[in-house]
Symmetry: C2
Subunit: 349 residues, 2 copies
């Protein structure tokens, strides 16, 4: 198992990314190929603690796609960028999966261009793993597809089901559609139309769920369009951060409270670990002929390590094969045919 790691993306610089790679090869039986500036990466590796040097190598690339660049344009122009070359090597079978903490739009665009879509998948998307009071939940799509049709939602539910089975280990993942009320018929026109497709499918569909159900852990897969999913993801990140900041401020306001915090700091650390995105291994790109994981731009070494492990498990546990299998189960006659070249937008969704 060899994972390609785009080492030039992200907000924190290549040192943290390389550190994550070293942790990953130390904790699991796999190799990592770093894509990026060979000189820089070699220097970072030399400064690093001991690791199995046979398990990390470098592919030199000369360009970098910046976080703010327009994805399509960037990957067209920067043919020797770390992210473009990494996916090309995946396409050529030289690596088994790609992990990047860079520009997520560019990562998706490079992945689609190099790998192409899985059979009958109309729109690849990005899934995200959220912590809950019970097992983690998989939400899809969280940003790749902003204007969706009902059948796209169905396919998001299907792809996230395969991922939930393979990575979270759920048997028949419960699939809910994110809406504004649990009752059937509640929601916008997209959600109301998707409801029928889900009911007619072989997925373990439990109906609409509300935003407040997201973190309870009573649903395994949450389906939404990429606009709603991206807003949900970023609101959650923002709120978790704001709550932590507010709590810290209140504690720092009083000497006694600070003392109390010191006593309770083990509990706080475990709490932080439970809600930390870094523990959940990045966001898988699903629906592609290959495996890609995009990490948060601010990913620390732990987040990179976990993403590498999730990438390896996605390949080992044959998530893509399972997506193709589930697609074959779905009656093609529902709504309109899900032909893979159908990528138009629908006016009413």
């Amino acid at each position: 198992m060899r994972i390609a790691l785009d080492s030039m993306g992200g907000d924190r610089g290549p040192a943290d990314i390389v550190d994550g790679a070293i942790q990953a090869v130390t904790e699991a039986d796999l190799s990592v190929t770093l894509f990026g500036d060979e000189e820089k990466l070699t220097a970072i590796l030399k400064r690093s603690g001991p690791y199995d040097t046979g398990r990390i190598d470098i592919v030199h690339t000369t360009e970098v796609v910046g976080m703010g660049e327009s994805p399509i344009e960037a990957i067209r122009r920067k043919r020797d960028s770390s992210i473009v070359v990494a996916f090309k090597r995946l396409k050529d079978g030289e690596v088994d999966a790609v992990v990047s903490a860079g520009n997520s739009g560019a990562t998706m665009a490079a992945a689609v261009r190099s790998l192409g879509r899985l059979k009958n998948i109309a729109r690849p998307g990005i899934a995200s793993i959220f912590p809950t009071l019970k097992k983690p939940v998989v939400m899809m799509d969280v940003g790749a597809n902003v204007d969706c049709r009902p059948k796209h939602l169905l396919q998001f539910g299907l792809m996230a089901t395969a991922f939930s089975e393979g990575i979270i280990g759920n048997d028949r993942p419960r699939v809910g559609v994110l809406s504004i009320g649990a009752e059937q018929g509640k929601g916008n026109s997209l959600v109301r139309k998707a409801d029928k497709l889900f009911r007619d499918s072989t997925l373990n569909y439990i109906g609409n769920i509300e935003g407040s159900d997201t973190f309870k852990g009573d649903v395994d897969v949450i389906v939404c369009d990429g606009f709603v999913g991206n807003v949900s993801l970023k609101i959650s990140e923002g709120l978790a951060e704001a709550m932590t900041t507010m709590l810290r401020a209140e504690i720092n306001n009083s000497f006694v409270a600070k003392l109390g915090y010191l006593l309770a700091r083990g509990a706080f650390a475990r709490f932080k670990k439970r809600i930390d995105y870094a523990e959940y291994g990045g966001a898988p790109l699903l629906g592609l002929n290959g495996t890609g994981i995009v990490c948060h731009g601010r990913s620390n070494p732990t987040a990179i390590k976990n993403a590498i492990h999730v990438a390896a498990e996605t390949v080992q546990n044959k998530v893509n094969e399972r997506i193709v299998e589930l697609m074959a189960e779905i009656t093609e006659s529902s709504e309109d045919s899900a032909s893979s070249d159908d990528n138009k937008q629908e006016g009413t969704s």
Copy 2:
């Protein structure tokens, strides 16, 4: 100033609602009329602590709209329900505003039917007040309008601006449209079309904001359609609850952490107050010929009290007059004319 209080709605029963009314008349110079079962309400008032009896009276109603009932049907059928009668009295000028913790859809429907819309407002909506690291932010719409047109978003921004001025006390509230990236052009087709309308308006538009900006306090008004807003609101509530539960569980896992918590409990209480919806006085219905506030079904007496005070301030500070004034400033020629009887849905939004 006399506020009508629907005393039969909500999940916690009339005792908490009456308690909120007593707190409200004790802390501010206003009167409250309770709408509901006179016998029950009289009994609750008799059991209550001392209050100025001249400031609370009762209008007897015989029916109740349940939390799960279909709004339109319920208010059509239950003509003597507390919520329907309360809005009728507001229409007749016998009270100055209505507060309800009942079925929010039915509250909106009763309000629209009794009061009608403000001049040129196409779609009344529900705003919600979120805590942030700085001043509270007003988000609109959070559930009344799930499929929206660009001009509806513009009007939500305008109405929330008037509310932010009158209730939060902001001078030129900064208005942002909730999207999946801060750059112009990012978003779904609805958001991209709305952008032009906002740029051409007299509002203090700062462009797109991301979900992660919601709690930072650098924007005063967040605009979104009712589907996205409702999901955002409920995800935030769900996450705040889940984080509190997780933190409590971690603290209870260790004796030393529990001791620490006891020392820090003042800080925790202040933190809880900062994030508690009860402190923010319910969600105003905006765009109507009159003032209505809908509270969370689980509202405790503090939440009811705060909602009554916000209702009074909304009237005193002439929020509706300000909405009409701002509407007049907006060039009617942008997009299509915002005639008040235009209530059709647009295919592309």
